[in-house]
């Protein structure tokens, strides 16, 4: 097992100082459910782990002026249990509820799920269709990154080495609806073979996002004006947008079929929810 120095931070200033000092030799530790496994398996060997859990402001989970603010250290279960979630955000809770297992969700954070940037991350698609933004901080200041610009490649984000995610911000759907579906090998705790989210605004604009079918979760928001019930045209657009591979979890061919199957079910749910 690799050895590392564990650094516990109590303020954001302390965290960004440490990160600026150790930059590429350090990793941020929140829930640790991905990071510690990678270290154990020898895939990563950071010299420093900077634990941001003690930083109070990163635990904020609140609705502020129609904007849902999910602090970087908010756990997945805390998000699921949040009582003031605006209507229309079903995609995010549906995704959160099938992310890993209950025990892992007690520990795993929303911020960690996107920073790990797995192509199959379950929170990627819902955040993409809901138009989330990622708020960050470094010694150079704060910035927000639209989620569709956040993922760069397999397990790579556009974060700078000295930059920390502080929160994920999701605008209220304001009459829109959304949903999420996941295909796994079993019904219980499993990674996605394909996951998918869809959202429609009140005036009928469709956004769909898929995971595990490209190097990053991908957003598709231009359907050449196809109507919601024009499944064939929508699926055509999706097929051109995805680039799945064969791996131990599924073949590319099966993933394509599943994008089609999930897209159909999602469109059906969205239409039902718009009417309901």
């Amino acid at each position: 097992m690799a050895t590392f120095k564990y650094l516990r931070c109590h303020s954001l200033d302390e965290a960004i100082d440490l990160l600026a000092t150790h930059a590429r030799q350090a990793r941020i530790l929140a829930g640790g459910t991905d990071l510690l496994v990678s270290i154990r398996d020898g895939l990563e060997s950071p010299r420093y782990l900077i634990d941001i859990k003690p930083i109070a402001e990163l635990h904020t989970l609140a609705l502020e002026d129609g904007l849902l603010r999910i602090g970087a250290s908010v756990t997945v279960n805390q998000l699921i249990d949040f009582e003031h979630l605006p209507a229309g955000m079903d995609a995010i809770t549906e995704a959160a509820s099938c992310l890993a297992s209950y025990q892992i969700r007690n520990r795993a954070t929303v911020g960690g799920n996107i920073c790990n940037a797995s192509p199959a991350c379950d929170l990627g698609p819902p955040l993409l269709v809901l138009g989330a933004k990622v708020e960050t901080i470094s010694k150079r200041g704060r910035r927000t990154i639209p989620i569709e610009d956040f993922f760069e490649d397999v397990k790579v984000t556009r974060l700078e080495p000295d930059e920390i995610v502080t929160a994920i911000l999701i605008p209220s759907p304001r009459g829109g609806v959304s949903t999420f579906l996941k295909r796994s090998r079993i019904k219980g705790h499993d990674l996605a073979v394909v996951n998918a989210a869809g959202a429609v605004t009140k005036d009928g604009n469709l956004r769909m996002a898929f995971g595990a079918v490209a190097p990053t979760p991908i957003l598709v928001d231009d359907f050449n004006g196809a109507r919601l019930d024009d499944t064939a045209r929508i699926v055509d657009v999706l097929m051109n947008a995805i680039s799945p591979i064969d791996d131990v979890r599924a073949s590319a061919v099966y993933r394509k079929y599943m994008v089609e199957a999930l897209a159909k079910k999602i469109l059906e749910t969205l239409m039902n929810r718009l009417q309901g």
């Binding site: 705790h189 990674l191 131990v248 979890r249």
Partner: protein
């Protein structure tokens, strides 16, 4: 005393200790001065070892011993002695241990392991068992012809990859095919899978300066560990002590011997300090054994009316790199390989074949899950080719009293009733009634059935024994050496003991930790044999103890032994219940009022060796291999999502002729657990390799097993009681059987729902989806 203990749903006697976490497992234990071991594993599936350099590793502070293959000139095995303790000269699978380190901490041992330098010359890996049979295949074991094995029982073919060739010949199969109205041929495949016990393999060993070895280990069979270690190292049995505390699941994967020799020798080389090795989950997948793969070709000839008159079967077992257990699975599947059917002409060849994969061992069903995957899929395919109802087709061919099995055994009434299992399953699943898919037209409903049988696979002289010793308060300690690693046998054996001793259950103390120094002999805890064989021993030990009690009481009361009745811990003079003694006045010896004493502590002894079994004829496989057959059947109703390939188990009904239910809840629990484990094999589980022989899913991230959410919506158990003539109260074993034929029942339901016959496990959503797409396009 009421006679209601046999069959009662008594709560597990180990329940409180387990749910409160106070049960101690090997992995929990720590001895004074104990060292920690780690292994260096081969990164190659097949390679020559050119050089091993341990110099840098030796420099790591805290390292007390480093062993490599050259230090350990031993080979281990029960049936086929083919496995070195550490790889010698070459590695035969990725994950094979090449070196091992014992150090003051696990971290130091791991660091030293990382510093061991090994140069390999990679060799072409043998990854397919059928390819391995070809004359030009590389050999996994060049020295097979020099290995020791149980001669006359197993038949290795020197200078090939065939570790065992089992032959069975009954009647004239060529003539049978000539006379057949129809001949159906299919090939079925089942991949390797993992047991996935909650507790990985764990061993603590202490080689003492006086030459004695003490071992605490997560194993199924303390005496098998002791015996194999004794034979391999040439050390007397009496100098080895094996203790098995609580075991966190085994399913066959902890039968025989595993980490114990390595850890013992590390202790010896580390200055006689105790050493502990707990397998990581990765090692559980890569290094420790799995279940063999099977490629089965089945050719069946039937008459116009649906009677099977010829069957030719070829099993090619993918044993992996070592075949100690694999050879016996090949044999057991051979003598039972046609299923519970009466067939006049049968030819079976069962080959156990070496490949460069992790090695196989026993796994719940001992080859029968795999062979019945083939046979019961085939039976459905044959019925379909005749346009016959699969239930009717089977009924026409099932064994019944008077039938002769493929090894020449005559079936009698008390053998058990497979027909009843099938009929009751068919009725409960609503066979013949069409069910509409309830969740829309993208889903299809189907029903499937499959039957099964299995007998314990064990040597003809397999033995058990039991001791019952009384305590001062007339509670009784019951001691056997079979291990309850989750089956619930300890509870059902306690019920048998209480019933036999005429004591309430709370007066029975089932001695938990198994210790070869203090417990009586038992061959192995395998083969669904413990309730039957240890049960018989407990009945005999109880009778022995009661005889002693009667003798003492007869003298004390001044009557004949035969005039005594025993009930609820008391001894009565028949016809005069006022003349009575309590067990506790007798079991330590009886003292007369004047102080004179007779008797002495009562110790009951019971032994049993399987009776009437024979070795099988080397050419024809004829003989009597089976102490008892347990028959069963499954009926399953599924809903298939044609878009995703998902199979939803709507209902599964399972019937077994258990002879006699000893504990109903535990019996049903065994069935539920076995069915769910069978669904894992059916729907999702498999080892996946790249072309170089690297296992790609050696973790629970990508090797999935059923979770609570994957349990079927409705599970029904039907327990049939046709008494067996030898088992206690007529009981038969039930531990393995619930898993058998689950895959074929589901595949048959899939065929019923979709007209697609899939011949390869698992029936994963992807495989089903792609097969359905192919069907709709073709």
């Amino acid at each position: 005393m009421k006679d209601d203990l046999i069959g009662a749903s008594v709560a597990r006697i180990d329940g409180i200790e387990k749910v409160t976490g106070s049960a101690t497992y090997t992995a929990d234990m720590k001895l004074p001065g104990m060292l920690y071991a780690r292994m260096l594993l081969s990164p190659h599936a097949h390679a020559r070892i050119l050089r091993i350099d341990i110099e840098k590793a030796k420099q790591v502070p805290g390292v007390k011993a480093i062993l490599v293959g050259a230090d350990l000139p031993y080979r281990i095995g029960l049936y086929m002695v083919d496995k070195p303790i550490l790889a010698q000269g070459k590695v035969r699978y990725e994950g094979e241990p090449v070196a091992a380190v014992a150090a003051l901490s696990g971290e130091a041992a791991a660091e030293a392991v990382n510093l061991i330098e090994v140069d390999y010359e990679p060799l072409g890996p043998v990854m397919d068992a059928r390819e391995a049979l070809k004359a030009d295949s590389p050999l996994v074991h060049e020295d097979l012809h020099t290995y020791k094995y149980v001669e006359g029982v197993f038949f290795p073919v020197p200078h090939t990859n065939i570790a065992n060739h089992f032959r069975l010949r009954k009647g004239d199969v060529a003539k049978g095919f000539e006379e057949s109205y129809k001949i159906v041929e299919n090939e079925f495949y089942a991949p390797q899978v993992q047991h996935v016990p909650l507790e990985t393999h764990a061993t603590i060993a202490h080689w003492k300066p006086n030459g004695r070895i003490e071992i605490w280990t997560s194993a199924q069979s303390p005496f098998a560990v002791r015996n194999l270690l004794s034979v391999a190292l040439g050390i007397s049995h009496s100098r080895i002590r094996v203790v098995v505390p609580y075991v966190g699941g085994a399913f066959g994967g902890k039968a025989g011997i595993h980490l114990e020799p390595l850890v013992s020798l590390l202790s010896k080389h580390a200055g006689f300090r105790p050493v502990k090795l707990v397998a990581t989950r990765t090692e559980e997948f890569k290094t420790l054994p799995c279940r063999q793969g099977l490629d089965a070709r089945v050719k069946t000839g039937v008459t116009r009316s649906g009677r099977i008159i010829a069957e030719e079967i070829e099993f090619v077992w993918d044993a992996g790199a070592y075949a100690d257990y694999g050879v016996n699975i090949g044999r057991a599947s051979g003598y039972s390989g046609a299923g519970p059917y009466e067939i006049e002409n049968v030819k079976i060849d069962s080959y156990t074949v070496y490949t460069n994969k992790p090695f196989g061992t026993a796994y719940r069903g001992f080859g029968h899950v795999e062979l019945f995957w083939a046979i019961e899929s085939q039976m459905d395919a044959v019925a379909a080719s005749l346009g016959m109802d699969p239930v009717e087709f089977r009924k026409k061919n099932l064994l019944r009293p008077g039938s002769i099995t493929i090894t020449g055994e005559k079936i009698v009434e008390h053998t058990g009733n497979v027909r009843k299992c099938l009929e009751q399953v068919a009725q409960e699943i609503g066979w013949g009634k069409e069910e509409e898919a309830k969740s829309g037209k993208k889903k299809l409903r189907g029903k499937g059935i499959a039957v099964l049988h299995k007998a314990p696979a064990m040597p003809p002289n397999t033995a058990s024994s039991a001791i019952i010793k009384f305590n001062e308060d007339a509670t009784a300690d019951v001691i056997v050496s079979g291990v309850d690693y989750g089956q619930g046998t300890a509870t059902s054996l306690s019920q048998i003991a209480a019933h036999a001793l005429r004591l309430p259950l709370e007066k029975i103390h089932f001695v938990w930790g198994k210790d070869t120094e203090q417990c009586p002999y038992d061959w192995q805890t395998v083969a669904s044999r413990l309730t039957v064989m240890a049960g018989i021993c407990i009945l005999r030990a109880a009778e022995d103890a009661l005889n002693q009690i009667r003798s003492i009481a007869a003298q004390a009361l001044g009557v004949s032994k035969d005039d005594l009745d025993l009930d609820d811990g008391k001894i009565f003079v028949r016809g005069d219940r006022s003349r009575m003694l309590e067990y506790k006045q007798v079991v330590m010896g009886y003292m007369f009022p004047n102080g004179n004493s007779i008797g002495g502590p009562v110790i009951g002894r019971g032994s049993y060796v399987a009776e009437g079994l024979t070795n099988l004829d080397p050419e024809t496989g004829q003989g009597l291999p089976a102490l008892n057959w347990t028959y069963g059947a499954h009926g399953v109703e599924i809903e298939v999502d044609v878009e995703t390939g998902d199979i939803e188990i709507v209902k599964i009904v399972s019937a077994f002729d258990v002879g006699k239910v000893i504990n109903e809840d535990l019996c049903r629990g065994q069935v539920r657990g076995g069915v769910v484990q069978g669904l894992g094999t059916t729907l999702i589980e498999q080892y996946i390799y790249d072309c170089k022989g690297h296992l790609l899913n050696a973790s629970l991230t990508d090797y999935k097993i059923p979770t609570a959410k994957d349990i079927p919506r409705q599970m029904v158990q039907i327990l049939i009681e046709t008494p067996h003539d030898k088992g206690p109260f007529g009981a038969r074993g039930i531990a393995e059987h619930p898993m058998i034929s689950v895959p074929s029942a589901v595949a048959n339901a899939l065929f019923n729902a979709t007209c697609v016959r899939i011949k390869q496990l698992p029936l994963s959503p992807e495989r089903v989806c792609l097969a359905l797409k192919q069907q709709s396009q073709g």
